[in-house]
Every structure is written in C-alpha cells, then in structure tokens.
C-alpha cells in the first residue's frame, strides 16, 4: 500500500473539501479537518506498525515530475522518517482537535491548517530534495498567514514579519545549499537515495563542500532557531494561534534538523567535519543561553518557546557529535520534542482561552481548578526537564553519551548543567506559579479540557510515554539509517 501517499494527500484533499463547504457550517469544517487528520494518523500508525526494518525504502510512490531536471515526486519511508511521520500525524491530529478555539474566518483557517498539515507530512515523506523543500514551503506559507490573521497579542504584526523574514531567509539559504548539492553531483537527480549513492561513489569536491555545508547548516539552522538566529521562535509562538504553534514548533521546525541529518552531513561530510565544532558551540549557546533567558520569562508561551529553543540545543549537540549514538539520539529527541512541544502549546492555548492571558505572575492554583489540564501541563513540564519515562529523557541521555564519547566534554558538562538544573529551574518556577499555590486571580469560571481536546492531548502524552518506556521502537530503525550516514561521513570510524 502507498500509505505515505494517502497520509500526505488526505489533508490536502481535506483542504479542497473544506473549500467547498459554506463558511457558516463550522462544525462540518472542523469535522472534515479532524476526520482527515485522524485518518491520516490511522494510516501512519498502520504504516509504522507494519514497517519492517531492513534498510530498504518502504511504501514508495515515485512519479517522474520534471524529466529535464531529474525531479521525481517520490515519497518513501525509512527508519528515520517513519517515526517522524507518525509523530507528525499525531501532532497534526491533536492540532486539528485544538483548532476549535478559532472563531472567525473558520473556513479559511481550516483550509490553511489542512494545507499546512499536508505540507508537513509531505516534507518528511519526500525522498526528493525538490519536493522536500516544496512541501516545507507549502507548510510554511500558511504559518505566516495564520499568525498574521488569527494570531494574538500586541506583538502580532511584528512577530508575523519577523517569523516570515527569518524563516524565508533560512529556507533560501538552505535552498541554495541544496541547489549546490544538485549542481555538484552533476545536475541529474534530486532524489536523496540517488544523490547518496552518487556521493558515495564520488564525493563532492572539497572546496564545494566547504561552501555547501555551512549554507545548509545555517539555512536549516535558522529554521530550527539555532543561536543566535533564534529570537523569532518565542515571539512567533507567543503570537501564533494554538494549532499553528503546535504544528510549527512540534513538527515543521524539525524539518531543518532532518535536513541537516538527511542531506547536509551525507552530502558534505568534509564540510561537516570542519563546521560541526562550530555547531556544537552554537548548540551549547542554545542550551545554556536560551535556558537562562527562559528563566526570566513571565509569559508562559515565551517560556515554552525559549525552552523549546533550548531543547533544539540537544539535537544540535547530538548532530555535532557525528556518531551513531548522537544522530540516533538527535532523531529521538526530534520526535519526543515534537510531541512535547505540541502538548505544551496545546495546553498553553487552552489556558489562554480560559484566562485571557498567559502572564504567570497572575496565575496560580490552577491544578485544583482544572485538574486534567493541570496534570497534563505538569507532565509536559516534567517531560520538558528531561524526566525519565518520557521519550525526551531517552533521547537526551543518549545525546549526553554521544557528545561525551565524541570528545565534546566541556560542552557536555555545561549542557548537562543547563539541562538538569536550569531546565528544571524554569519548569519548576512555571509549575509553582501556574499550578501551585493559592488560586490566583478570578479563574473560577475557567473550565477544564473538553473531551475532544483531552483525547488529543492525551494521545500526545501517551505517545511520549510509550516512546519513553520503549525507545527501541524508534531507535532500531533510526540506528540502521544513521549508521549509513555516519559511514559516509566518517568512513574510518564505524562506531
């Protein structure tokens, strides 16, 4: 079965379908979105469970698109992206469920939401660089519009512009890097497997690699809020509507990391070796600096945003280790953080809707007022500070081991400090001021999660726990693919 094609097309078809529904039929519109993403999730689950790990591409759809450029519409799954796609589908479903806080221009919002979901899933399912990029943009453009039209807060306009310009810049730099790869490999194919094959036989010349890698690294890095290009993230997420923030912070943002692992490192290994040291230090800046910034935040969304930026540091650190353990850990954290970020933004969206503000100093005692949301938030924040049992921990500890064995000892020490101590410092503060203490302000009217949203968020939580208890579900497949990449990048070392 072409599961991936179904997974990607369902939301896009839903977008078209929503287009034909009159704007007043809000329930129908929401139903279509939730239904489509639910079906997508179901398919993703089936695909994930029936996925056999044998190093081959699965569920392939390959259509020649532009012959003259060697461009294929090529969807396929391997050990790395099958997990990410499942995560994306879960988050997409959750986001669709959480989108009921949109009350004006519902139809337009849902069209964009569906397009965004389709784009996200497509980007990770694509095995062709062009469509990989194309789907990413397809998801990115609705993001801007959604933040601009349905966003919140006084900073909305500024945030919209900032996120638009930043992400466009990142995407363009990455595009130039991708084109560099394409051009350097002989302008015959955009297909990732083909390219890897070619590069394996005849590497791109060294001087070109020294250009391509930083282009890809910083281009993708900007998309992932690599320090010091991170300031768009907290601001943008603070202003974004709930579903958008969930999808972007959860899944779309991972595109850059995926790109670095999937394209940058295997295509330009020599470039990688001379630039990953820089990446490691920037990762550290992400972890430590953004953690410290998060400590100072008074607004829950800004806190989650900054902490999410800080978490990217782990992944960068894993990538910078450039060994099997590190890259596997990086992918693991990508998946875990996707679920977590979606959960956190889903909850903060709920809080915002109930209380009209996310100023933590004005909250308090909400655990009693809304036990479900409160407990979920509690767990999310715990997962955020790397508590075992959640998938985040498995990834993070893997990365520590990887970074240590890669010789990045100083960085590991500081990273551990910022993860264990600074991370828990701001998470604890958040719990203390939002959930604990006497009931602050006039929240007596605030209600708990609706069953639909509760299911959606519960699903995220469940996935976090399942992957936390059994990370092997993911790592087995990831490890196989990552080993290939590391072998390309470092032919001499097999570890």
């Amino acid at each position: 079965m072409d599961w991936l094609l179904i997974i990607v097309m369902l939301p896009l078809l839903a977008a078209v379908a929503v287009g034909f529904v009159p704007g007043r039929q809000r329930r129908v519109i929401r139903g279509i979105t939730v239904g489509a993403s639910g079906l997508s999730l179901l398919c993703a689950l089936i695909a994930f469970l029936s996925f056999e790990i044998d190093g081959e591409l699965k569920f392939e759809t390959k259509v020649l698109w532009v012959e003259s450029l060697g461009l294929y519409f090529h969807l396929a799954a391997d050990g790395i992206n099958i997990g990410i796609i499942l995560m994306g589908a879960i988050v997409a479903f959750a986001a669709a469920c959480c989108a009921d806080d949109i009350t004006h221009r519902v139809k337009e919002f849902h069209i964009l939401l569906n397009v965004m979901i389709g784009g996200i899933l497509g980007a990770f399912a694509s095995m062709d660089l062009f469509f990989f990029y194309f789907f990413h943009e397809l998801a990115l453009v609705p993001t801007f519009i959604m933040i601009g039209v349905w966003g919140r807060g006084a900073n909305r306009n500024y945030a919209t512009y900032k996120i638009t310009l930043y992400l466009s810049l990142g995407a363009l730099l990455a595009l130039i890097g991708l084109i560099g790869v394409y051009v350097q490999t002989g302008e015959e194919s955009f297909s990732i497997p083909d390219l890897i094959d070619k590069v394996g036989k005849k590497p791109i010349n060294e001087a070109a690699q020294q250009w391509i890698f930083p282009l890809l690294m910083f281009g993708f890095g900007i998309l992932v809020s690599l320090w010091p290009f991170h300031t768009w993230a907290p601001l943008g997420y603070g202003a974004a509507p709930t579903a958008t923030a969930m999808l972007h912070a959860g899944v779309l943002k991972k595109f850059g990391l995926y790109g670095i692992i999937r394209v940058a490192i295997p295509m330009a290994p020599i470039g990688a070796q001379s630039w990953l040291g820089v990446l490691a230090w920037l990762a550290l800046a992400n972890l430590l600096y953004c953690g410290l910034v998060a400590v100072r935040q008074k607004d829950l969304n800004l806190l989650i945003g900054n902490s999410s930026v800080a978490h990217m540091g782990f992944i960068f650190l894993g990538i910078a280790s450039l060994n099997v353990i590190g890259l596997t850990g990086a992918v693991l954290v990508m998946i875990a953080h996707g679920l977590l970020a979606a959960l956190a933004f889903g909850l903060s969206g709920h809080l915002y809707r109930q209380t009209g503000s996310l100023d933590m100093s004005r909250m308090g005692g909400l655990l009693r007022q809304m036990p479900l949301a409160g407990s979920a938030l509690l767990m999310a924040l715990f997962a955020g500070c790397g508590l075992p049992g959640f998938a985040n921990f498995a990834g993070e500890i893997t990365i520590f081991f990887a970074a240590w064995s890669a010789g990045l000892k100083t960085i590991t020490v500081i990273a551990a400090w910022s993860a264990l101590v600074i991370g828990s410092l701001y998470m604890m503060r958040a719990i203390r001021s939002i959930l604990h203490g006497p009931l602050g302000g006039d929240w007596t009217k605030a209600s708990d999660l609706s069953p639909l949203v509760a299911t959606a968020l519960g699903l995220l939580l469940a996935a976090l726990l399942v992957f936390g208890f059994a990370p092997g579900l993911l790592t087995k497949g990831i490890e196989g693919e990552v080993t290939k990449i590391v072998r390309l990048a470092k032919p001499e070392a097999e570890r």
């Binding site: 300031t231 060994n323 551990a416 009931l439 790592t475």
Partner: protein, 588 residues
C-alpha cells in the same frame, strides 16, 4: 522467581497507573490497590529472601551502537536487605496513612503518588546498571517532589517541593557526569560488567568520577552542602516524611554508594566522602539542638544519621553503613510516625513548646516514641546502639579525628532527642490542643507497634565484636547527654539555651544561614546570569542585531531612494556618472 522479581518492581507501578487512570474516583479502591501493591511487593520480597538466590533478569531498554542500556534487576544480598526495608517500612506507612490522610480530599491522589514513589525507589534498589539507577533516581526525585508538594495550595509546601527537586537536580548533574566518565573509562554502565573490569584490574576510574557519582548521593541523601532541602521537605504529610525523608529515599544515596563501592574504593573520593559525611552529621546535629518543630528536629536528626552512614562508606565500611541504614530506617520511621500520630492528635500542631504531657493522653504513641528515641540515641540493647557502635568502630580504626566528631555527634543526638522527648511528652500540657489530645486509632498505632519491634531487635542480626573503647565512649555520651537535657528541659516553659548561648544558638536556629547564603548566591549568580542573558536577548540580539539589521536596511532604503529626486537633470547626471563608473570599472 524472575517473575516474582519483576512483580516486586511493577506492582506499585501498576497501582499508580490504575489509580491515575480511573480508580481515583473511589477512595476505598485507591487505598486497597495501593496497599495491596506494596504489601504484595513485601511478600514477594520475603519470598525472594527465603528461596531466591542471586537473580539477574534483564531486558534491553535502549541499544545504539556502543551504548547498551538495560532494565535489569540485580537481586543479591545488598538489594534484598534494602528491598525488605523499603517494602516493609513502606507497607506499614501505607497502612498508617489510611488513618493519617482520612480527612484529606485528595486521598486517592496521595496513594497514587505513594505507589509511584515505591516503584521508583524499588527501581533504584533493583537497578543493575548506572543508567537505570539514574532513571529511577530521577523518578524518586519527582515522586518526592509530588509528595512534598502534596498540599500544593500551601505556598510553603509548593516552595519546599520546588527546592527539594532543584537541589536534587544539582546532585544529579554530578551523578550524570560521573556515569558518563565511568562509561568512557570502562565502556559499560552495568554493575556486573564494571565489577568484572575493576576486579580484573583492567581499568579504574578517577577520583573525580567517584566524587561526581557521590554528588548524586549528596543530593538524595542530603549531605552538606546539598542538605538544605530535607528540613523543608517536612512540609509534606508526615507519613511521607517517615517513608521518604527518613527511611528510604534519603537512604538511596547511601545504598547507591554501597552498590558501587567497588568502583570508588581506593580513589581520593573516599576521603572526601568520609569528611563530608562527618561534617554533615555534626552540623545537622548542632542545628537539631535548637529546632522547635517536632518534624524538623527529626529531619535534622535524619541528616545527622545519614552523615554517619556516608562517613562509614567513606571510611571503607559499606557494611556498617548498610547496617545503620537498616536500623535507622525502622526507628526513624517509627519516630516520624509517632510524630505524625502526635500531630494528628493535636490538630496539626507541630511546635514542641505547645505540646507537653502527652504521656498520659497518648500512651501507645508515648511508648513507641520512647523506643524510637532510645534506639536513635544508641541506648544499649536497642538496635541503634549496635549500628552506631559499628560506625564509631570503623571511625576509630581509620580516622581518629572523625571518630571524635562522631562521638560528639552521638552526644548531641542524645541531647536533642531527650530535649524533644521531655518537652513534648513529659510535664504539663502547654496548649489547649495538647490538653484535649487523644490516642490515635488503631490503624495508626498498630504500625507504630510493629515498627517498634525491629527498632529494638534489628541490631542483633549483625555479628560484630565490639571495641571496648568505643563501647565506653558511647555509653558515657548517652548517659551524659540524657542527664544534661533532662536537667535543662524538665518542666521548662521555654528553651533556656538561646539566652545562654547567644549568637551560637541563633546560628543554630538559623541553620548556619545556609538558606540565606544560597539565596544570595542564586540571586547573585544565577539570577544575574539569567538577567544578563535576557538582556542580551532583548537588547543585543533582538535589539541591536535584528532591529539593527532591519533599521540599517530601512535606512539604506530611505537613503537610496533619495536618488530618485524626480528631477530629470539629476537622473541624467546619475546616468552619466553610472556610465563613467562602469567604464572606469571595466576598462582600467
């Protein structure tokens, strides 16, 4: 047998999950499930102790490249002992809680958390490798956080929980680095593998690694300077204090040190561990002298006793440490539960100066509490006497300075426990609540009685030839401490010491200003760093760089378009000038 071992670990988890998912709707069901789970574990433990030899079932949790992390159960002498302590004391405390928490509206949540804690603690006990231990180490931290902050609406409880968690995390930071260093040096995290490579003499770890691992213990076992969270943790319900902050969690550090003793033995870390243990015990004992809160006195006493154990490990005798751990677990749990009984009877009054005369009103509590006190003070023939003596013995053999410290601590212990006992139970009631106090129901007193048994008898299971000198010293100390305290406090209405000791008493009451110093440090370093980062983010990156780039672009745009004057002659001039520039650029 393997199934039994797994069940010991998983029963409490099962209980926590079931209660969390739905059973919380019924108070009764929650209690039954939770108590069932822990007693089930206890019975299975007894089964293992009786019939099982050494077991080592394991499954792979995560395996990537050269990194293999298992979830495995190491069942040997050490862990069996600890299992008994945890599940045994745990069971009793669960039962006690039935009475103590009867009125609470979050009764079910309490039992869920308690089960979660037992699960985590058992994980530490059973762990067969460092990472698994770290995992449960963290989980213990969290469940302790949840339990300390059980009454989260009370700001002090919420703050205490936060403090406990953060302090533990600082220790865990060191622990994690230690694990990384061990892994890097020896290539494995499994205790069995490590033991093999260490005994094979192929490799050792550095003192630094040993010390970092000890950092973990420092956090969990509340050793100085990370001890500050434990007294505050008394904000939790009293059974929790008894379970976590007396018998089990705080003992985890000591247990862990014993578990990996083979690794750190012989490194300079040992010396450091011994001194930190000794100093902690001294400091805590001193501070206990001037506390007025019944639970806080016990908490400092716990600190002090943990210091003993750690010192024992540091001096090279994990056996003595484990011995004291076991006896301490029973009598300290007994003391805490006794305190809990008193607190319930006095409608949550914890100040000993508002008690008094409880002997007649709560006889069962009185007697059991007396037994606990005697054990703690090391009165001969009580369990504490034997275990304390074992530690003093080790100290005398290895480090005479620490021996004196230990003896002095023993003196202080007798003194403050007698003070507590005399003020709280003897004399006349000093408040209305104390006057109206009634004995607690059976569900609470029965656990007290049960715990009293090991508090007396646990000492006889450890074969040990006493050193006469040590024997004499401890006897003298006990008698002297009791006499002094009795004279000072018998019939006293208020503490006479502050007047006599002046500044020293103030220092003790203020716990040597540790909290204030930490607060100051955090404010100065951490907060300033955060402020700096935030300021850089706001002004340098978002401001100077981003807005600067934006501003420069905007400015460039506005300047550039000034060329567009609308005047034809200017245009013609630009045209000619541009042409000239191109010519000069290309032709020369």
């Amino acid at each position: 047998m393997n199934t039994a071992a797994w069940l010991i670990l998983l029963l409490p988890l099962f209980s926590a999950v079931v209660i969390g998912l739905g059973a919380f709707r019924s108070r009764k069901a929650s209690a039954v499930i939770s108590i069932g789970a822990v007693t089930g574990s206890f019975l299975l433990t007894l089964l293992l102790v009786a019939f099982g030899g050494e077991l080592h079932p394991s499954v792979t949790w995560l395996a990537i490249g050269g990194l293999q992390i298992d979830i495995g159960l190491q069942i040997d002498q050490l862990s069996k002992l600890m299992l008994c302590v945890v599940t045994g004391v745990g069971s009793l405390i669960h039962i006690f809680s039935l009475g103590y928490m009867k009125e609470d509206r979050d009764f079910s949540r309490y039992f869920a958390f308690l089960s979660l804690f037992i699960f985590s603690m058992l994980g530490i006990v059973l762990a067969d490798n460092f990472v698994m231990m770290f995992i449960f180490w963290e989980l213990v931290g969290v469940s302790s956080y949840l339990l300390i902050g059980f009454w989260f609406e009370k700001p002090s409880a919420a703050d205490a929980a936060k403090k406990a968690f953060l302090t533990n995390r600082v220790g865990d930071f060191g622990f994690l680095l230690g694990i990384l260093m061990v892994w890097a040096a020896l290539g494995s995290v499994g205790f069995a593998d490590l033991a093999k490579s260490v005994s094979g003499g192929t490799a050792t770890i550095t003192g630094l690694a040993g010390f970092l691992i000890f950092c973990g213990a420092m956090g969990k076992s509340a050793q100085a300077p990370l001890h500050v969270w434990l007294p505050d943790a008394m904000e939790g319900p009293t059974p929790v204090s008894a379970l976590i902050h007396a018998a089990t969690m705080v003992a985890a550090g000591v247990y862990m040190l014993c578990r990996v003793f083979f690794l750190i033995d012989g490194t300079w870390a040992m010396e450091a561990i011994a001194w930190i243990g000794g100093l902690t015990s001294l400091m805590a004992a001193l501070m206990a002298v001037q506390q007025d809160d019944i639970k806080r006195i016990l908490a400092y006493s716990t600190l002090s006793q943990l210091g003993y154990m750690v010192m024992a490990v540091g001096l090279g005798s994990p056996d003595a440490a484990m011995f004291h751990l076991t006896t301490h677990a029973s009598f300290k749990a007994l003391l805490f539960l006794g305190a809990g009984s008193v607190i319930v009877a006095l409608h949550h009054e914890q100040d000993i100066w508002k008690m008094g005369g409880l002997r007649d009103r709560m006889p069962k509590t009185y007697w059991t509490f007396l037994i606990g006190t005697m054990a703690l003070c090391g009165v001969p023939l009580f369990s504490g006497f034997f275990s304390k003596e074992a530690i003093l013995d080790v100290a005398l053999e290895n480090n005479i300075l620490l021996f004196f410290v230990a003896v002095f601590v023993a003196l202080l212990t007798t003194f403050y426990m007698t003070r507590l006992f005399v003020v709280a139970f003897m004399g006349e009631p000093r408040s209305v609540h104390a006057e109206q106090a009634k004995e607690s129901p059976a569900v609470m007193t029965v656990p007290l009685l049960v715990l009293a048994v090991p508090s007396v008898l646990a000492g006889y299971f450890y074969a040990h030839a006493p050193n006469p000198l040590v024997l004499a010293a401890s006897l003298v100390v006990v008698v002297f401490g009791m006499l002094v305290a009795n004279t000072l406090y018998s019939g006293a209405k208020a503490d006479p010491l502050p007047a006599k000791l002046g500044l020293l008493a103030k220092a003790l009451r203020q716990r040597f200003w540790f909290d204030e110093i930490y607060q100051w440090l955090i404010d100065q370093v951490q907060e300033n760093l955060a402020k700096l980062a935030d300021a850089i983010d706001r002004w340098v990156i978002a401001g100077l760089l981003v807005r600067g780039t934006h501003g420069t672009t905007e400015l460039a745009a506005r300047v550039l378009r000034l060329a567009q004057t609308g005047n034809l002659q200017t245009y013609a001039f630009w045209f000619a000038a541009g042409m000239a520039a191109l010519l000069v650029f290309t032709l020369s």
